[in-house]
Amino acid sequence: MPAIEIRGLTVKFKQDGSSFTAIDNLDLRIGRGEFVCIIGPSGCGKSTLLSVLAGLKEASSGEVLINGKPLTGTGTDRAVVFQHYSLFPWMSARKNVLFALEQVRSGAKKELAHVADAWLKRVGLGSFLDKLPAELSGGMQQRVAIARALALDPDILLMDEPFGALDAKTRMSLQEMLLKLWVADDQRKTIVFVTHDIEEALVLADRIIFMTPKHIHKEIAVNFSRPRDKSAIFADEEYYKMRLELLELFDYGAAAGAYGDFSI
Protein backbone atom coordinates (compact mmCIF):
# COMPACT_ATOMS: atom_id res chain seq x y z
CA MET A 1 0.00 0.00 0.00
CA PRO A 2 1.50 3.37 -0.98
CA ALA A 3 1.84 6.07 1.65
CA ILE A 4 0.05 8.54 -0.57
CA GLU A 5 -2.28 7.77 -3.43
CA ILE A 6 -3.89 10.54 -5.46
CA ARG A 7 -6.53 9.77 -8.07
CA GLY A 8 -8.05 12.33 -10.37
CA LEU A 9 -7.36 15.25 -8.06
CA THR A 10 -8.79 18.57 -9.19
CA VAL A 11 -8.47 21.76 -7.15
CA LYS A 12 -10.35 24.89 -8.11
CA PHE A 13 -10.30 28.28 -6.46
CA LYS A 14 -13.36 30.43 -6.59
CA GLN A 15 -12.83 34.13 -6.46
CA ASP A 16 -15.32 36.89 -7.20
CA GLY A 17 -17.57 34.52 -9.09
CA SER A 18 -14.89 33.27 -11.45
CA SER A 19 -13.09 30.01 -10.85
CA PHE A 20 -9.46 29.15 -11.38
CA THR A 21 -8.18 25.61 -11.77
CA ALA A 22 -4.88 25.06 -9.95
CA ILE A 23 -4.68 21.29 -10.37
CA ASP A 24 -6.53 19.33 -13.02
CA ASN A 25 -7.18 15.58 -12.83
CA LEU A 26 -3.84 14.64 -11.31
CA ASP A 27 -2.75 11.08 -10.44
CA LEU A 28 0.22 10.28 -8.21
CA ARG A 29 1.43 7.42 -6.02
CA ILE A 30 4.15 7.88 -3.46
CA GLY A 31 5.61 4.83 -1.80
CA ARG A 32 6.31 4.35 1.88
CA GLY A 33 9.71 5.75 2.83
CA GLU A 34 10.13 7.47 -0.52
CA PHE A 35 11.67 10.91 -0.83
CA VAL A 36 9.85 12.77 -3.59
CA CYS A 37 10.63 16.27 -4.78
CA ILE A 38 7.97 18.21 -6.63
CA ILE A 39 9.51 20.83 -8.85
CA GLY A 40 8.13 23.25 -11.38
CA PRO A 41 7.79 26.92 -12.24
CA SER A 42 5.84 29.33 -10.04
CA GLY A 43 2.12 28.90 -10.35
CA CYS A 44 2.26 25.29 -11.50
CA GLY A 45 0.22 24.13 -8.51
CA LYS A 46 2.99 22.38 -6.59
CA SER A 47 2.32 24.26 -3.38
CA THR A 48 -1.41 23.75 -3.83
CA LEU A 49 -0.80 20.02 -4.11
CA LEU A 50 1.14 20.11 -0.85
CA SER A 51 -1.63 22.11 0.85
CA VAL A 52 -4.12 19.43 -0.16
CA LEU A 53 -1.86 16.72 1.27
CA ALA A 54 -1.46 18.75 4.47
CA GLY A 55 -5.24 19.02 4.77
CA LEU A 56 -5.29 22.79 4.45
CA LYS A 57 -7.11 22.88 1.10
CA GLU A 58 -9.97 20.72 -0.03
CA ALA A 59 -10.04 18.81 -3.26
CA SER A 60 -12.77 19.98 -5.64
CA SER A 61 -12.98 16.44 -6.97
CA GLY A 62 -10.89 13.29 -6.95
CA GLU A 63 -9.54 11.17 -4.18
CA VAL A 64 -6.54 11.34 -1.87
CA LEU A 65 -5.64 8.31 0.24
CA ILE A 66 -3.12 8.50 3.06
CA ASN A 67 -2.00 5.00 4.08
CA GLY A 68 -5.07 3.69 2.31
CA LYS A 69 -7.50 5.93 4.18
CA PRO A 70 -9.31 8.86 2.60
CA LEU A 71 -7.80 12.17 3.63
CA THR A 72 -9.93 14.31 5.93
CA GLY A 73 -8.30 17.56 6.93
CA THR A 74 -5.11 17.85 8.93
CA GLY A 75 -3.85 14.85 10.83
CA THR A 76 -1.17 13.62 13.18
CA ASP A 77 0.10 11.20 10.52
CA ARG A 78 1.54 14.20 8.66
CA ALA A 79 3.82 17.04 9.72
CA VAL A 80 4.53 20.13 7.66
CA VAL A 81 7.48 22.50 7.35
CA PHE A 82 6.74 25.80 5.61
CA GLN A 83 9.05 28.38 4.15
CA HIS A 84 7.77 31.25 6.31
CA TYR A 85 6.09 31.72 9.67
CA SER A 86 6.64 28.13 10.64
CA LEU A 87 7.29 29.10 14.25
CA PHE A 88 5.22 31.07 16.74
CA PRO A 89 7.21 34.24 17.38
CA TRP A 90 6.23 34.53 21.05
CA MET A 91 7.48 31.05 21.94
CA SER A 92 11.09 30.04 22.49
CA ALA A 93 12.59 27.31 20.32
CA ARG A 94 11.90 24.76 23.04
CA LYS A 95 8.36 26.00 23.60
CA ASN A 96 7.62 25.81 19.88
CA VAL A 97 8.57 22.14 19.77
CA LEU A 98 6.95 21.40 23.12
CA PHE A 99 3.70 23.09 22.12
CA ALA A 100 3.44 20.89 19.03
CA LEU A 101 4.23 17.77 21.05
CA GLU A 102 1.57 18.59 23.63
CA GLN A 103 -1.09 18.57 20.93
CA VAL A 104 -0.46 15.00 19.84
CA ARG A 105 1.09 13.22 22.79
CA SER A 106 0.00 12.75 26.34
CA GLY A 107 2.59 12.56 29.03
CA ALA A 108 4.21 14.64 31.70
CA LYS A 109 5.35 18.04 30.55
CA LYS A 110 8.82 17.25 31.81
CA GLU A 111 9.06 14.16 29.64
CA LEU A 112 7.87 16.01 26.56
CA ALA A 113 10.34 18.79 27.29
CA HIS A 114 13.10 16.18 27.27
CA VAL A 115 11.94 14.97 23.85
CA ALA A 116 11.86 18.55 22.58
CA ASP A 117 15.34 19.30 23.92
CA ALA A 118 16.74 16.09 22.44
CA TRP A 119 15.41 16.98 18.99
CA LEU A 120 16.71 20.53 19.16
CA LYS A 121 20.12 19.12 20.07
CA ARG A 122 19.97 16.77 17.10
CA VAL A 123 19.49 19.71 14.76
CA GLY A 124 22.40 21.50 16.42
CA LEU A 125 20.50 24.01 18.52
CA GLY A 126 21.37 22.66 21.96
CA SER A 127 22.54 26.05 23.14
CA PHE A 128 19.62 28.00 21.66
CA LEU A 129 16.76 26.30 23.48
CA ASP A 130 15.40 29.44 25.12
CA LYS A 131 15.84 31.82 22.20
CA LEU A 132 12.86 33.39 20.51
CA PRO A 133 12.57 32.91 16.72
CA ALA A 134 13.45 36.57 16.16
CA GLU A 135 16.74 35.94 17.96
CA LEU A 136 17.59 33.07 15.59
CA SER A 137 18.82 33.27 12.00
CA GLY A 138 16.57 32.09 9.17
CA GLY A 139 18.49 28.82 8.93
CA MET A 140 18.19 28.23 12.66
CA GLN A 141 14.46 28.91 12.53
CA GLN A 142 14.06 26.25 9.87
CA ARG A 143 16.12 23.87 11.99
CA VAL A 144 13.62 24.40 14.80
CA ALA A 145 10.75 23.81 12.37
CA ILE A 146 12.34 20.56 11.21
CA ALA A 147 13.02 19.47 14.78
CA ARG A 148 9.38 20.15 15.60
CA ALA A 149 8.10 18.21 12.62
CA LEU A 150 10.33 15.21 13.33
CA ALA A 151 9.61 15.27 17.07
CA LEU A 152 5.97 14.64 16.18
CA ASP A 153 7.14 11.41 14.52
CA PRO A 154 4.72 11.50 11.59
CA ASP A 155 4.54 8.91 8.81
CA ILE A 156 4.74 11.62 6.20
CA LEU A 157 6.77 14.80 6.20
CA LEU A 158 5.52 17.55 3.91
CA MET A 159 7.93 20.37 3.12
CA ASP A 160 6.94 23.47 1.17
CA GLU A 161 10.11 25.13 -0.12
CA PRO A 162 11.56 24.96 3.40
CA PHE A 163 15.00 26.22 2.34
CA GLY A 164 13.79 28.63 -0.35
CA ALA A 165 14.54 31.78 1.63
CA LEU A 166 17.99 30.76 2.83
CA ASP A 167 21.40 31.62 1.42
CA ALA A 168 23.21 28.96 -0.59
CA LYS A 169 25.58 27.84 2.14
CA THR A 170 22.91 27.52 4.83
CA ARG A 171 20.68 25.71 2.36
CA MET A 172 23.34 23.11 1.65
CA SER A 173 24.03 22.44 5.32
CA LEU A 174 20.31 22.07 6.01
CA GLN A 175 19.90 19.68 3.07
CA GLU A 176 22.68 17.56 4.49
CA MET A 177 21.15 17.64 7.95
CA LEU A 178 17.74 16.65 6.63
CA LEU A 179 19.20 13.70 4.71
CA LYS A 180 21.20 12.59 7.72
CA LEU A 181 18.18 12.65 10.01
CA TRP A 182 16.04 10.93 7.41
CA VAL A 183 18.51 8.11 6.80
CA ALA A 184 19.16 7.63 10.52
CA ASP A 185 15.52 6.64 11.02
CA ASP A 186 15.07 2.85 10.79
CA GLN A 187 11.51 3.46 9.66
CA ARG A 188 12.26 6.08 7.03
CA LYS A 189 9.59 8.70 6.68
CA THR A 190 7.87 9.44 3.44
CA ILE A 191 8.90 12.94 2.40
CA VAL A 192 7.17 15.17 -0.12
CA PHE A 193 9.39 18.15 -0.73
CA VAL A 194 8.33 21.09 -2.90
CA THR A 195 11.14 23.15 -4.36
CA HIS A 196 12.04 25.25 -7.38
CA ASP A 197 15.73 24.47 -7.03
CA ILE A 198 16.90 21.78 -9.50
CA GLU A 199 20.12 21.01 -7.68
CA GLU A 200 18.30 20.63 -4.39
CA ALA A 201 15.83 18.20 -5.93
CA LEU A 202 18.61 16.10 -7.48
CA VAL A 203 20.57 15.88 -4.25
CA LEU A 204 17.60 15.02 -2.06
CA ALA A 205 15.07 13.00 -4.01
CA ASP A 206 14.50 9.39 -4.99
CA ARG A 207 12.10 10.70 -7.61
CA ILE A 208 11.52 14.13 -9.08
CA ILE A 209 8.08 15.12 -10.25
CA PHE A 210 8.09 18.00 -12.71
CA MET A 211 4.84 19.93 -12.82
CA THR A 212 3.59 22.30 -15.47
CA PRO A 213 0.47 24.30 -14.60
CA LYS A 214 -2.29 21.96 -13.42
CA HIS A 215 -0.50 18.75 -14.45
CA ILE A 216 2.41 16.45 -13.79
CA HIS A 217 4.58 16.81 -16.87
CA LYS A 218 7.29 14.28 -16.20
CA GLU A 219 8.69 11.99 -13.51
CA ILE A 220 12.41 11.38 -13.22
CA ALA A 221 13.94 8.65 -11.05
CA VAL A 222 17.12 9.69 -9.23
CA ASN A 223 19.21 6.66 -8.51
CA PHE A 224 22.29 8.00 -6.71
CA SER A 225 23.22 5.67 -3.88
CA ARG A 226 22.33 6.50 -0.30
CA PRO A 227 23.61 7.85 1.95
CA ARG A 228 24.20 10.57 -0.60
CA ASP A 229 27.66 11.91 -1.10
CA LYS A 230 27.54 15.32 -2.67
CA SER A 231 31.02 15.27 -4.16
CA ALA A 232 30.31 11.89 -5.74
CA ILE A 233 27.04 13.19 -7.14
CA PHE A 234 28.67 16.27 -8.59
CA ALA A 235 31.32 14.05 -10.22
CA ASP A 236 28.64 11.84 -11.81
CA GLU A 237 27.77 12.46 -15.43
CA GLU A 238 24.24 11.30 -14.75
CA TYR A 239 23.76 14.35 -12.50
CA TYR A 240 24.52 16.78 -15.33
CA LYS A 241 22.29 14.90 -17.74
CA MET A 242 19.35 15.10 -15.40
CA ARG A 243 20.11 18.69 -14.53
CA LEU A 244 20.14 19.61 -18.19
CA GLU A 245 16.93 17.74 -18.75
CA LEU A 246 15.19 19.62 -15.95
CA LEU A 247 16.59 22.94 -17.13
CA GLU A 248 15.23 22.22 -20.58
CA LEU A 249 11.86 21.37 -19.10
CA PHE A 250 11.76 24.75 -17.36
CA ASP A 251 12.94 26.43 -20.55
CA TYR A 252 10.74 24.56 -22.95
CA GLY A 253 7.66 25.30 -20.94
CA ALA A 254 8.48 28.98 -20.85
CA ALA A 255 9.11 29.04 -24.60
CA ALA A 256 5.89 27.20 -25.32
CA GLY A 257 3.95 29.58 -23.11
CA ALA A 258 2.75 26.66 -21.04
CA TYR A 259 3.11 28.72 -17.88
CA GLY A 260 0.78 31.44 -18.97
CA ASP A 261 1.60 34.78 -17.46
CA PHE A 262 4.43 33.41 -15.43
CA SER A 263 6.90 33.15 -18.27
CA ILE A 264 9.27 36.03 -18.60
Binding site: G55, T74, V80, F88, W90, A100, A134
Partner: protein, 299 residues
Protein backbone atom coordinates in the same frame (compact mmCIF):
# COMPACT_ATOMS: atom_id res chain seq x y z
CA UNK B 1 35.27 70.09 33.75
CA UNK B 2 31.60 69.30 33.84
CA UNK B 3 29.34 72.28 34.11
CA UNK B 4 27.81 72.28 37.56
CA UNK B 5 25.37 75.16 37.20
CA UNK B 6 22.98 74.27 34.39
CA UNK B 7 19.77 76.11 33.61
CA UNK B 8 17.45 73.96 35.75
CA UNK B 9 19.79 74.38 38.71
CA UNK B 10 19.80 78.14 38.26
CA UNK B 11 16.00 78.22 37.99
CA UNK B 12 15.74 75.94 40.99
CA UNK B 13 17.83 78.26 43.12
CA UNK B 14 15.81 81.30 42.05
CA UNK B 15 12.55 79.43 42.68
CA UNK B 16 13.59 78.31 46.17
CA UNK B 17 14.76 81.81 46.97
CA UNK B 18 11.50 83.25 45.78
CA UNK B 19 9.47 80.80 47.85
CA UNK B 20 11.43 81.62 51.01
CA UNK B 21 11.48 85.38 50.34
CA UNK B 22 9.03 87.32 52.56
CA UNK B 23 5.92 87.90 50.56
CA UNK B 24 3.79 91.01 50.12
CA UNK B 25 0.61 89.13 50.78
CA UNK B 26 -0.38 86.88 53.59
CA UNK B 27 1.13 83.65 52.36
CA UNK B 28 0.28 80.17 53.55
CA UNK B 29 3.00 77.82 54.73
CA UNK B 30 5.49 77.20 51.89
CA UNK B 31 6.73 73.80 53.01
CA UNK B 32 4.58 71.56 50.79
CA UNK B 33 5.42 73.55 47.67
CA UNK B 34 9.07 73.72 48.65
CA UNK B 35 9.23 69.96 49.18
CA UNK B 36 7.71 69.40 45.75
CA UNK B 37 10.20 71.71 44.07
CA UNK B 38 13.14 70.05 45.79
CA UNK B 39 11.79 66.60 44.93
CA UNK B 40 11.35 67.58 41.27
CA UNK B 41 14.88 68.92 41.18
CA UNK B 42 16.33 65.77 42.70
CA UNK B 43 14.37 63.59 40.26
CA UNK B 44 15.47 65.58 37.23
CA UNK B 45 19.05 65.91 38.32
CA UNK B 46 19.76 62.44 39.65
CA UNK B 47 16.76 60.30 38.92
CA UNK B 48 15.08 58.88 35.85
CA UNK B 49 16.40 58.48 32.31
CA UNK B 50 20.05 58.94 33.05
CA UNK B 51 20.81 56.98 29.91
CA UNK B 52 18.83 59.20 27.56
CA UNK B 53 19.90 62.45 25.93
CA UNK B 54 20.64 64.76 28.89
CA UNK B 55 19.40 67.78 26.92
CA UNK B 56 15.85 66.44 26.97
CA UNK B 57 16.00 66.20 30.75
CA UNK B 58 17.44 69.67 31.10
CA UNK B 59 14.96 71.22 28.69
CA UNK B 60 11.88 69.73 30.29
CA UNK B 61 13.11 70.57 33.79
CA UNK B 62 13.73 74.15 32.67
CA UNK B 63 10.23 74.50 31.22
CA UNK B 64 8.63 73.08 34.35
CA UNK B 65 10.62 75.37 36.65
CA UNK B 66 9.91 78.42 34.49
CA UNK B 67 6.16 77.75 34.69
CA UNK B 68 6.32 77.31 38.46
CA UNK B 69 8.50 80.41 38.78
CA UNK B 70 6.10 82.57 36.77
CA UNK B 71 3.17 81.31 38.79
CA UNK B 72 5.02 81.90 42.09
CA UNK B 73 6.18 85.40 41.21
CA UNK B 74 2.92 86.59 39.66
CA UNK B 75 0.85 85.21 42.53
CA UNK B 76 2.90 85.94 45.61
CA UNK B 77 5.37 88.66 44.69
CA UNK B 78 3.48 90.89 42.26
CA UNK B 79 0.02 89.82 43.39
CA UNK B 80 -0.98 90.10 39.77
CA UNK B 81 -4.03 87.86 39.85
CA UNK B 82 -7.70 87.44 40.61
CA UNK B 83 -7.68 86.63 44.34
CA UNK B 84 -10.48 84.06 44.07
CA UNK B 85 -9.82 82.37 40.75
CA UNK B 86 -6.04 82.03 40.90
CA UNK B 87 -4.62 80.55 44.09
CA UNK B 88 -0.93 80.71 44.94
CA UNK B 89 1.18 77.57 44.41
CA UNK B 90 1.63 77.37 48.18
CA UNK B 91 -2.11 77.17 48.66
CA UNK B 92 -2.51 74.54 45.97
CA UNK B 93 0.20 72.23 47.19
CA UNK B 94 -0.87 72.57 50.82
CA UNK B 95 -4.08 70.89 49.74
CA UNK B 96 -2.13 67.67 49.23
CA UNK B 97 -1.46 67.75 52.98
CA UNK B 98 -4.65 69.28 54.36
CA UNK B 99 -7.05 67.22 52.24
CA UNK B 100 -4.92 64.13 51.80
CA UNK B 101 -7.50 61.87 53.45
CA UNK B 102 -10.27 63.03 51.15
CA UNK B 103 -8.02 62.79 48.11
CA UNK B 104 -6.84 59.27 48.82
CA UNK B 105 -10.40 58.22 49.58
CA UNK B 106 -11.41 59.68 46.23
CA UNK B 107 -8.48 57.91 44.62
CA UNK B 108 -9.49 54.54 46.09
CA UNK B 109 -13.08 55.02 45.06
CA UNK B 110 -12.26 56.15 41.51
CA UNK B 111 -9.70 53.41 41.00
CA UNK B 112 -12.07 50.67 42.10
CA UNK B 113 -14.73 51.87 39.65
CA UNK B 114 -12.15 52.35 36.92
CA UNK B 115 -10.62 48.95 37.45
CA UNK B 116 -14.01 47.25 37.40
CA UNK B 117 -15.19 48.94 34.20
CA UNK B 118 -11.79 48.74 32.57
CA UNK B 119 -11.14 45.07 33.17
CA UNK B 120 -14.72 44.15 32.27
CA UNK B 121 -14.47 46.02 28.96
CA UNK B 122 -11.00 44.68 28.16
CA UNK B 123 -11.87 41.12 29.09
CA UNK B 124 -15.11 41.03 27.15
CA UNK B 125 -13.79 43.14 24.29
CA UNK B 126 -10.68 41.04 23.74
CA UNK B 127 -12.19 37.58 24.15
CA UNK B 128 -15.40 38.60 22.38
CA UNK B 129 -13.45 40.14 19.53
CA UNK B 130 -11.31 37.01 19.39
CA UNK B 131 -14.30 34.76 18.84
CA UNK B 132 -16.27 37.09 16.60
CA UNK B 133 -13.17 37.82 14.54
CA UNK B 134 -12.45 34.13 14.13
CA UNK B 135 -15.95 33.15 13.05
CA UNK B 136 -17.00 34.77 9.74
CA UNK B 137 -20.69 34.28 10.45
CA UNK B 138 -20.56 36.04 13.82
CA UNK B 139 -18.36 38.69 12.29
CA UNK B 140 -20.86 39.55 9.59
CA UNK B 141 -23.50 40.24 12.23
CA UNK B 142 -21.60 41.83 15.06
CA UNK B 143 -19.09 43.99 13.27
CA UNK B 144 -21.56 46.33 11.53
CA UNK B 145 -23.80 46.31 14.61
CA UNK B 146 -20.99 47.37 16.91
CA UNK B 147 -19.79 49.89 14.41
CA UNK B 148 -23.20 51.57 14.44
CA UNK B 149 -23.49 51.46 18.23
CA UNK B 150 -20.01 52.81 18.80
CA UNK B 151 -20.67 56.03 16.93
CA UNK B 152 -22.40 57.53 19.98
CA UNK B 153 -19.81 58.97 22.36
CA UNK B 154 -20.01 57.33 25.78
CA UNK B 155 -20.11 60.75 27.47
CA UNK B 156 -23.58 61.30 26.02
CA UNK B 157 -25.02 58.34 27.94
CA UNK B 158 -23.83 59.57 31.30
CA UNK B 159 -26.82 61.60 32.59
CA UNK B 160 -29.33 58.96 31.54
CA UNK B 161 -27.28 56.03 32.80
CA UNK B 162 -26.73 57.76 36.13
CA UNK B 163 -30.48 58.30 36.35
CA UNK B 164 -31.58 54.75 35.59
CA UNK B 165 -28.89 52.63 37.23
CA UNK B 166 -29.62 51.64 40.84
CA UNK B 167 -26.32 52.92 42.25
CA UNK B 168 -23.82 55.43 41.07
CA UNK B 169 -21.10 52.78 41.20
CA UNK B 170 -22.91 50.56 38.70
CA UNK B 171 -23.65 53.56 36.51
CA UNK B 172 -20.03 54.67 36.31
CA UNK B 173 -18.77 51.14 35.75
CA UNK B 174 -21.22 50.90 32.88
CA UNK B 175 -20.11 54.23 31.43
CA UNK B 176 -16.41 53.34 31.67
CA UNK B 177 -17.25 50.02 30.06
CA UNK B 178 -19.07 51.69 27.14
CA UNK B 179 -16.23 54.16 26.71
CA UNK B 180 -13.69 51.53 25.76
CA UNK B 181 -15.51 48.28 25.04
CA UNK B 182 -16.46 49.12 21.46
CA UNK B 183 -13.03 50.23 20.35
CA UNK B 184 -11.36 47.26 22.07
CA UNK B 185 -13.86 44.83 20.55
CA UNK B 186 -13.66 46.21 17.03
CA UNK B 187 -9.89 46.54 17.05
CA UNK B 188 -9.58 42.98 18.28
CA UNK B 189 -11.81 41.77 15.43
CA UNK B 190 -9.58 43.60 12.98
CA UNK B 191 -6.41 42.18 14.53
CA UNK B 192 -7.78 38.65 14.33
CA UNK B 193 -8.83 39.09 10.71
CA UNK B 194 -5.42 40.51 9.83
CA UNK B 195 -3.41 37.53 11.12
CA UNK B 196 -1.03 36.17 8.53
CA UNK B 197 -2.65 33.10 6.97
CA UNK B 198 0.71 31.36 6.92
CA UNK B 199 0.88 31.52 10.70
CA UNK B 200 -2.62 30.08 10.93
CA UNK B 201 -1.66 27.31 8.51
CA UNK B 202 1.38 26.48 10.63
CA UNK B 203 -0.91 26.18 13.62
CA UNK B 204 -3.60 24.21 11.79
CA UNK B 205 -1.22 21.46 10.71
CA UNK B 206 -0.43 20.87 14.39
CA UNK B 207 -4.01 19.63 14.77
CA UNK B 208 -5.03 22.19 17.39
CA UNK B 209 -8.42 22.20 19.00
CA UNK B 210 -10.32 25.40 18.28
CA UNK B 211 -9.93 26.59 21.86
CA UNK B 212 -6.17 26.02 21.73
CA UNK B 213 -6.01 27.80 18.40
CA UNK B 214 -7.87 30.81 19.78
CA UNK B 215 -6.24 31.16 23.17
CA UNK B 216 -2.73 29.85 22.52
CA UNK B 217 -2.14 31.17 19.01
CA UNK B 218 -4.52 33.95 17.99
CA UNK B 219 -4.75 35.63 21.40
CA UNK B 220 -0.99 35.88 21.98
CA UNK B 221 -0.61 37.18 18.45
CA UNK B 222 -3.02 40.06 19.17
CA UNK B 223 -1.63 40.82 22.63
CA UNK B 224 1.08 43.36 21.69
CA UNK B 225 -1.39 45.40 19.67
CA UNK B 226 -3.86 45.35 22.54
CA UNK B 227 -1.19 46.62 24.89
CA UNK B 228 -0.43 49.42 22.43
CA UNK B 229 -4.10 50.34 22.62
CA UNK B 230 -4.14 50.21 26.41
CA UNK B 231 -2.77 53.72 27.00
CA UNK B 232 -5.47 55.28 24.83
CA UNK B 233 -8.18 53.17 26.45
CA UNK B 234 -6.93 54.19 29.86
CA UNK B 235 -7.21 57.91 29.20
CA UNK B 236 -10.64 57.46 27.64
CA UNK B 237 -11.89 55.49 30.61
CA UNK B 238 -10.47 58.04 33.04
CA UNK B 239 -12.20 60.76 31.05
CA UNK B 240 -15.58 59.06 31.11
CA UNK B 241 -15.25 58.16 34.78
CA UNK B 242 -14.34 61.63 36.00
CA UNK B 243 -17.05 63.09 33.80
CA UNK B 244 -19.57 60.72 35.37
CA UNK B 245 -18.32 61.59 38.84
CA UNK B 246 -18.77 65.26 38.13
CA UNK B 247 -22.41 64.61 37.28
CA UNK B 248 -23.69 62.21 39.87
CA UNK B 249 -21.21 60.97 42.47
CA UNK B 250 -20.71 61.58 46.17
CA UNK B 251 -17.08 60.45 46.17
CA UNK B 252 -14.17 60.04 43.81
CA UNK B 253 -11.68 62.32 42.11
CA UNK B 254 -14.11 63.90 39.65
CA UNK B 255 -16.45 64.59 42.54
CA UNK B 256 -13.60 66.18 44.50
CA UNK B 257 -12.90 68.62 41.69
CA UNK B 258 -16.54 69.50 41.04
CA UNK B 259 -17.52 69.90 44.68
CA UNK B 260 -14.77 72.42 45.41
CA UNK B 261 -15.57 74.18 42.17
CA UNK B 262 -19.06 74.70 43.57
CA UNK B 263 -17.52 76.15 46.75
CA UNK B 264 -15.18 78.30 44.65
CA UNK B 265 -12.26 76.65 46.45
CA UNK B 266 -9.99 76.75 43.43
CA UNK B 267 -6.85 75.72 45.27
CA UNK B 268 -8.49 72.36 45.88
CA UNK B 269 -9.78 72.24 42.31
CA UNK B 270 -6.33 72.74 40.85
CA UNK B 271 -4.81 70.31 43.34
CA UNK B 272 -7.42 67.74 42.29
CA UNK B 273 -6.61 68.24 38.63
CA UNK B 274 -2.88 67.86 39.26
CA UNK B 275 -3.54 64.76 41.34
CA UNK B 276 -5.52 63.17 38.50
CA UNK B 277 -2.70 64.00 36.09
CA UNK B 278 -0.14 62.36 38.35
CA UNK B 279 -2.28 59.22 38.70
CA UNK B 280 -2.79 58.85 34.96
CA UNK B 281 0.93 59.33 34.39
CA UNK B 282 1.75 56.58 36.85
CA UNK B 283 -0.78 54.25 35.24
CA UNK B 284 0.78 54.93 31.85
CA UNK B 285 4.18 54.18 33.32
CA UNK B 286 2.76 50.85 34.47
CA UNK B 287 1.53 50.14 30.93
CA UNK B 288 4.99 50.88 29.54
CA UNK B 289 6.52 48.42 31.97
CA UNK B 290 3.89 45.84 31.03
CA UNK B 291 4.67 46.32 27.36
CA UNK B 292 8.38 45.75 27.95
CA UNK B 293 7.62 42.63 29.94
CA UNK B 294 5.08 41.08 27.60
CA UNK B 295 6.24 42.12 24.15
CA UNK B 296 9.70 40.70 23.83
CA UNK B 297 8.92 39.37 20.38
CA UNK B 298 8.09 41.21 17.22
CA UNK B 299 7.83 40.54 13.56
Amino acid sequence: MKKIINLPTLLFIILVGSILWPSLINKSAPWAFLTLVVALYVIFQFGIHRDKDPRARIDSASILFIVLLIWEILATKLNFRNQVLVPTPEEVFNVFIDSRLLMWKGFARSMSLLLAGFSLALGLGITGGLMVGWNPRLRQVFFPLTKALSTVPALVYIPYVVAIMPTFASASIFVVFCGIFFSTFMNQINYVVAIDRRLIDSAKVLNLKTSTMLFKVVLPFTLPRNIDLLAVSLSISFMTLTAAEMIGANAGLGYFVRKFCDYADYARVIAGIIFIGIIVSFLNLGIDLLRKKVVKWHY
